[in-house]
Symmetry: C2
Subunit: 166 residues, 2 copies
Amino acid sequence: MTLKEGKEKFIQSWGALGSSWGINRTMAQIHALLLISPEALSAEEIMEELQISRGNANMNIRALIDWGLVYKELKPGERKEFFVAEKDMWEVVKNIIIQRKKRELEPMLRVLDEISSVDPDSEEAEEFIEIIREIKLFSNKADSTLDTLVKSDSNWFVGTFMKMIK
Amino acid sequence: MTLKEGKEKFIQSWGALGSSWGINRTMAQIHALLLISPEALSAEEIMEELQISRGNANMNIRALIDWGLVYKELKPGERKEFFVAEKDMWEVVKNIIIQRKKRELEPMLRVLDEISSVDPDSEEAEEFIEIIREIKLFSNKADSTLDTLVKSDSNWFVGTFMKMIK
DNA sequence: TTGTTGGTTCAGTACTTTTTGAAACTTCCT
DNA sequence: AGGAAGTTTCAAAAAGTACTGAACCAACAA
């Protein structure tokens, strides 16, 4: 396989993977492109490489920065902005966990709390409250487990955890 | 909050959560409805409750069974099929991990392997191979960690792991 | 065999999300 | 102030995804 083919295949696959993770195709492709790029790239270069419009590039780069997966890099002398990807996979995953926890798990916990206030004025209501209570319990565990996971470092993940768990 | 409001809110929120997890809104809503239903429900009842068409109900129920989140229940005497949700949250999460691992992580591992065969015939190619190697290493770790996680049981998750990690 | 109940399929439609491209804005230089 | 280089925004269009409803299939009962 040639380098060009390999790069294309990687960008394409990373894009597909992203789609099923709430990260849109283009966003994931930009991330992939930056991941395998030894140099920081400008918006122009990204547009060119992925054949996308300026607006699209701009919005998705912004979103990537927002997720903490890409950094802006200002080269001295250049007025243009350049972008680099976070290349430590553990950092990437950690940032995704942080964002999704904030965007999805936390709102759900709030909803579960609200819902718990249903009047237990019937057999059915009691059963409902009990099921919600169990879901809440589980979600809270997941929440604090993720917190701990995010605080731990890469070495812990690749080393200790694997041994501990085996 | 009344029981009716609570149920609606839960179904609605679970649906929204699903959307960001590659599980479509209706599928997640059916799952929510079954989760909070003490009785198994028929397709008719689900259609009625969520105001969806027969085709939609059928396809999504089947997908849920496919994901291992819902079971078919045949009541003796009744020709109709009834459905119940898996109510153990740990089982639910485990099944989702299993499915997504199979659908997303494993194909990505295969692609990474293919890509590794790029000719290291330039500085750039060597850097590319190295980055891919790191991603592969990380993905393999994630893969086996998830395997172990899935094999472990609920008690381990809610008990030991939490203490261990603190 | 015919009618009834329930399940499945899928082409067309409706809805949602993403992308484009052009205009507006910002910064800096002369 | 005017202009060049770059970035941001957003309405409209395109692409992608989900849903409907009607036709079809299967099992059973009369």
